[in-house]
Amino acid sequence: MTVPLATIRVTRAFGPVVEGEAVVSTEGFSPRYDLDRWSGLITKPGHKLEGTNIRDKILFFPTAKGGIAAGWAFFDIKHKGIAPKAFVFGVTNPVMVQGAVFAGIPITEGWDPPPAEAVRTGDWVRVDPGRKVIEVLRRGR
């Protein structure tokens, strides 16, 4: 097993172990307000990740924004084949959790240390909800 380059402990977690490319955002997220749910692109004008495709990514967001619709939206984007591999939140809200559980997408909340100190966009990371850790396996280019 690869020795992780860095490890983030999370407070709460759901889902199976997944690996993927990290996308680290300094701005919060709502699948309803920020995302084009047909292309998987973040389209809200001015969002810090505007233009980023979330498909198969492991997404780090500090917060969740608004939105009851995430409950269906995650299932919808999974059905369309454009879902991310996992959601990693600093602070989330119940809807994100209900939506991720409903869609079977791993989700975590609470982090130590914060991603800014451990992971960068493009790094290859593993989310292990059972052990409540996120491990950085390879640095991106």
Partner: protein, 413 residues
């Protein structure tokens, strides 16, 4: 989680496959949050429409219906994405409209009341202090927690449906006393004369504290706010801040005093909202190409009182040629507004009044925007100017009377 014998039986499938699946799902969510048990709910309110659910969600709903899923507490539905009477004129997709009808039929088959309103708390059901419910959208939840003192988390469509099927929800978040105490204090020095002012207040506070568990305590309101004002405040707090609860000292039931509202918490922040703070919100919007071709009164749906006030604000004036005005409300409010003449007044001014929908979730909205050449969207709802972003509108919040002025002159400033 500790389960009652009834819940064990449900998990064992003795109330059918749908109830077993629903409870399993609720258990996974409850365990994530460390819930110790379930609490019974008396009422559920769910978001479910084809725009948000998509084909995958509709397929799931039909499959769940085939398992004889049935709501065992009153289950009402939130605003949806079609007002069928207007679908063709709005250029909405006939195929999606047919799916929306299938979806409505599937929900009715599960014993849902397809009421299609996001103002259930004004028009359908008012839970009492301490009553546990399972509601969504966010505006309904923050109103239930804050104004009624009822108890609900944000319950997404699948979660509210599961709660209606099992008659319970995991006990976490706002079902627990410890999350209902104030965490920050907001002193109100501004007059707050317009619904948009209350929304702007929610924007300022929500943007600064984006946290589901942040509970602002508003102090020293100049007067007792009315329901529509609290509705716009709550909707904006939930939208900008993901907040599920607020207190207002002397107004909301769990805030007889500031001390009671804080419940021993030391506030993490103290904010003063004065007139200048509100004016900074209004002056902070980019006016884009300065077009004023779209003015929207929606999000949340308008109450009867808002319909009356808006009809009076238009008076004998007409919507400017080239500008379109949309108003959304519930089936019941539209019917009453018709009986009382407010509907005719708005329509003769040139506004389009849609029922059972919210503007921002209208099916095909992005293409509607392009087809109509809309770039700016002007509204008196702080919530809708926030949430419509993914459809690439440039949004501008203005006070109600300014929105009417913009609609009638076609000039945005």
């Amino acid at each position: 989680m500790r389960l009652t014998p009834e819940e064990e039986a449900m998990l064992a499938g003795r109330r059918g496959e749908a109830a077993r699946d629903a409870l399993r799902y609720q258990l996974a969510v409850g365990e994530f949050f460390g819930a110790e048990r379930f609490v019974p709910v008396t009422n559920a309110h769910m978001m479910g429409d084809i725009e948000v659910m998509g084909d995958g969600g509709l397929g799931w709903l039909k499959a769940t219906g085939a398992k004889h899923a049935r709501a065992c507490v009153p289950l009402t539905t939130n605003a949806r994405c079609f007002d069928f009477a207007h679908a063709a004129r709005l250029g909405q997709d006939a195929g999606e409209a047919a799916k929306e009808r299938e979806l409505i039929a599937a929900l009715r088959g599960m014993n849902a009341l397809t009421t299609d309103t996001c103002i259930n708390y004004q028009t359908l059901y008012q839970p009492h202090l301490g009553e546990h419910v399972a509601w969504g959208d966010t505006g309904t939840v923050i109103y239930a927690n804050s104004v009624f003192g009822a108890r609900s988390n944000f319950e997404s469509g699948p979660a509210a449906l599961a709660a209606a099927i099992t008659g319970r929800t995991p006990e976490y978040g706002f079902h627990l006393d410890r999350h209902r105490k104030g965490t920050l204090v907001v002193r109100l020095e501004a007059a707050l004369d317009d619904l948009a002012d209350w929304g702007a207040l929610g924007k300022i506070v929500g943007e600064k504290h984006q946290n589901y568990y942040a509970v602002p305590v508003f102090t020293e309101p100049r007067r007792a706010p009315v329901a529509d004002e609290l509705k716009h405040l709550g909707a904006a707090l939930a939208s900008y801040g993901s907040m599920g609860m607020f207190h207002m000292v002397g107004v909301t039931p769990e805030a007889p005093t500031l001390e009671a509202a804080l419940g021993g918490n030391r506030p993490v922040d103290e904010i003063v909202i004065d007139t200048a703070a509100l004016e900074r919100v209004y002056s902070g919007y980019h006016l884009g190409d300065r077009s004023a071709t779209l003015v929207v009164f929606s999000g949340p749906q308008l109450s009867l009182f808002e319909m009356k006030a808006l009809a009076e604000a238009f008076g004998d004036r007409k919507v400017h040629p080239g500008t379109q005005v949309f108003v959304t409300t519930s089936h019941g409010v539209k019917s009453t507004a018709h009986n009382l003449g407010y509907l005719q007044a708005l329509e003769s001014a040139g506004a389009t009044v849609l029922e059972g929908v919210c503007f921002y979730i209208l099916q095909n909205l992005s293409r509607m925007r392009v087809a109509n050449g809309w770039t700016n969207m002007v509204s008196n709802s702080a919530k809708i100017v926030n949430i419509i972003g993914a459809h690439k509108f440039n949004t501008v919040l203005r006070r109600t009377r300014d929105c009417v002025e913009i609609a009638c002159t076609g000039r945005l400033s």
